[in-house]
Amino acid sequence: MATGESNLFRESIRTALAQRAGIPDSEATANATAATWRLVAAQLAPVIGARGLEVLFERALRTTSAAFPWLAVASGSGAALLPGVAERLACQRPAEAAEASYTLFSTFTELLMTLIGESLTTRLLAPVWASPSLSSVQESAL
């Protein structure tokens, strides 16, 4: 049952990212990634604190970089890593960039799930993945 839910989660991450990028383009994927991360941060920072969030992001990025070595950003920490990540995504082939972006978010989500459980993670991040349009999520996050 747990795996089923995780798979469902992965699907919604993939769908939401693709819809936000709009077209299969590296630049668009980079922008969608940055915007989606800001949504995740808006949802989670009040709950787990900005520092807690940064630590998780760094960890997810490091894990993802194992499969996508070009993603490894050396300088900065936490939110400061984001521009670097977007830059690197924009330089890749569209399919590769989309896959890396998807892997980053699903790794991050899984990491959070191992810490605070599936149901709580799903609950906290539901607004990020449920609504593919960015504006409506931003409104609900406010």
Binding site: A45, P46, V47, I48, G49, A50, R51, G52, L56, L115, I116, G117, S119, L120, R123, L124
Partner: protein, 497 residues
């Protein structure tokens, strides 16, 4: 009269807590939960929050640096009260670490106020204020001091239409923090380790407008969360409540289930009495108590046994096992060594009500004393007194066994001086006659009733206790060295009277 404010009391959802608070948490009260690390403050706060938070009465939980929020969420969801459905729907967590890290209290306070005003919650928690204090040592000049901050927060918290909680580590007793004065309620949690037992206790130091239960109350933390075991309340012997029990006491008698014993007691044990069966190891105390329960089952008077010694499946007590399996007798069997008497009493009273029990056996007081955490042993006698009083208030008839070291130099009934607590006493002894160990028993006391004063020999057979004849013609039996009395002398003495 009618225009006085009515304070609603909110049920906390923590078993036993409402009782010690004097009926629940006053709505819109400002409460402090204090205690050392690991004493269960956050767990208590969460349990109350999950119980009380609804869509109409949402909760706001501010986390300060005390515990990383990720860890808190990770561990708190192990408790069954943690309902992820309520999060975001009626419970919102707000982390203040960014504001705190600036060291500026005005900002922390402003953020709290802003969040509260934005969502007008019915419940507000700030966890914890100790970490706020530590963080702000290096605060900029001219801003709120720590004391002022806590004071301000306290005032704001009481001003909102919300029931609020400030959670913090314990501050020294000698220097009570000014916020203690502002608070409506003050709950202090503690844990004490004594030898290898750990006891958790809480105390309601203050709860405005309510009659709280005084003293330290023990509690446990299990997967279901916190459960408090309030001290048993002893009802006064005044008022109408006691009278039915009193009249019952004198009228009816309870059969003991041992042939001949009822006659020795003057027609059975008066109902509602508590009896102490004292004797050395192996003298047949448990068997007598078992017979008492079995007789109850036969007469459709359900019983309850609190067993601290043999497990029910062991040899002679086999029948207890059968009765428990058949659901005719309730069993509380425990060997954990960190109990409080109040915890046992609470379980016992609940079981008595559930079974509509008329008979209660505690086997034995010696085992009970061992099972009680060392912290409580000093008060064992006092707690025993409370327990007997509670049981007698329920109108049940109680048989307690007590191990008695065989001493032939003095005549004692119990090592706790508990003999005076009970209404009736039976003593069992070993004696030596004709180079054989024999068992004798005697009824020492039955309050307000005539009873036999004979020392009767008895045997333990597979059928139970068989009481034999009075041990005549001997004297010095209780010294362990009986000597035969020449018949003439007895006659002579009888004539003298």
């Amino acid at each position: 009269m009618s225009d006085k404010v009515t304070i609603r009391r909110l049920p906390t959802g923590v078993p036993g807590l409402d009782a010690i608070l004097g009926g629940g948490l006053p709505e819109f009260s400002f409460n402090l939960i204090v205690g050392p690390p690991g004493s269960g403050k956050t767990t208590l706060a969460h349990q109350i929050m999950f119980a009380l938070a609804t869509k109409e009465r949402p909760a706001l939980f501010f986390t300060v640096l005390g515990e990383p929020p990720l860890k808190m969420l990770r561990y708190q969801q192990q408790f069954s009260f943690f309902d992820p459905q309520k999060i975001t729907e009626s419970i919102r967590f707000v982390n203040l670490s960014d504001e705190v890290s600036t060291g500026n209290f005005d900002e922390v306070l402003a953020r709290i106020i802003k969040e509260v005003e934005a969502s007008s919650p019915g419940l507000v928690f700030v966890d914890s204020f100790r970490s706020v204090m530590l963080e702000v040592r290096n605060q900029p000049q001219g801003t709120l001091s720590l004391q002022q901050f806590i004071q301000q927060l306290g005032i704001h918290l009481s001003g909102w239409q919300a029931t609020t909680f400030l959670i913090g580590e314990y501050l020294s007793n000698s220097d009570p923090h000014p916020v203690f004065t502002v608070a409506d309620g003050l709950l202090s949690l503690d844990q004490s380790v004594h030898r290898n037992s750990m006891v958790r206790q809480m105390q309601v130091l203050k709860m405005r407008g309510q009659a709280t239960r005084p003293g330290m109350q023990t509690f446990r933390i299990s997967s279901a969360g916190i459960e408090v075991f309030p001290t048993a309340l002893v009802r006064d012997d005044t008022g109408a409540a006691q009278e039915p029990a009193g009249s019952r006491r004198t009228k009816s008698r309870v059969a003991m289930g041992v042939p001949g014993l009822d006659e020795m007691l003057g027609g059975g044990l008066p109902s509602g009495y508590s009896m102490l069966v004292a004797g050395p190891s192996g003298s047949g105390k448990t068997i007598l108590a078992t017979a008492f329960l079995a007789e109850g089952v036969r007469r459709s008077e359900p019983g309850v046994i609190v067993a601290f010694e043999q497990t029910p499946s062991q040899s002679r007590t086999r029948t207890i096992d059968d009765m428990v399996r058949a659901g005719q007798v309730g069993l509380i069997n425990t060997r954990s060594l960190d109990l409080s008497i109040d915890e046992i009493v609470q379980h016992l009273v609940a079981l008595i009500h559930r079974m509509s029990a008329k008979r209660v056996v505690i086997d034995s007081l010696s085992g009970f004393e061992l099972a009680v955490a060392p912290t409580f042993r000093e008060d064992f006698r006092e707690s025993l007194f409370r327990m007997v009083a509670v049981l007698s208030g329920l109108g049940v008839t109680v048989v307690m066994t007590s191990e008695l070291e065989d001493r032939y130099t003095d005549l004692r009934f119990s090592p706790y001086g508990s003999a005076f607590l009970t209404d009736a006493i039976i003593v069992e002894r070993y004696i030596e006659i004709d180079s054989r160990f024999k068992r004798v028993l005697a009824v020492v006391k039955v309050r307000g009733s005539a009873h036999s004063n004979e020392l009767r020999e008895f045997e333990i057979t597979d059928a139970g206790i068989i009481i034999g004849d009075p041990v005549g013609d001997y004297e010095g039996l209780l010294s362990g060295r009986a000597t035969l009395v020449p018949p003439v002398k007895v006659v002579g003495r009888a004539k003298l009277r």
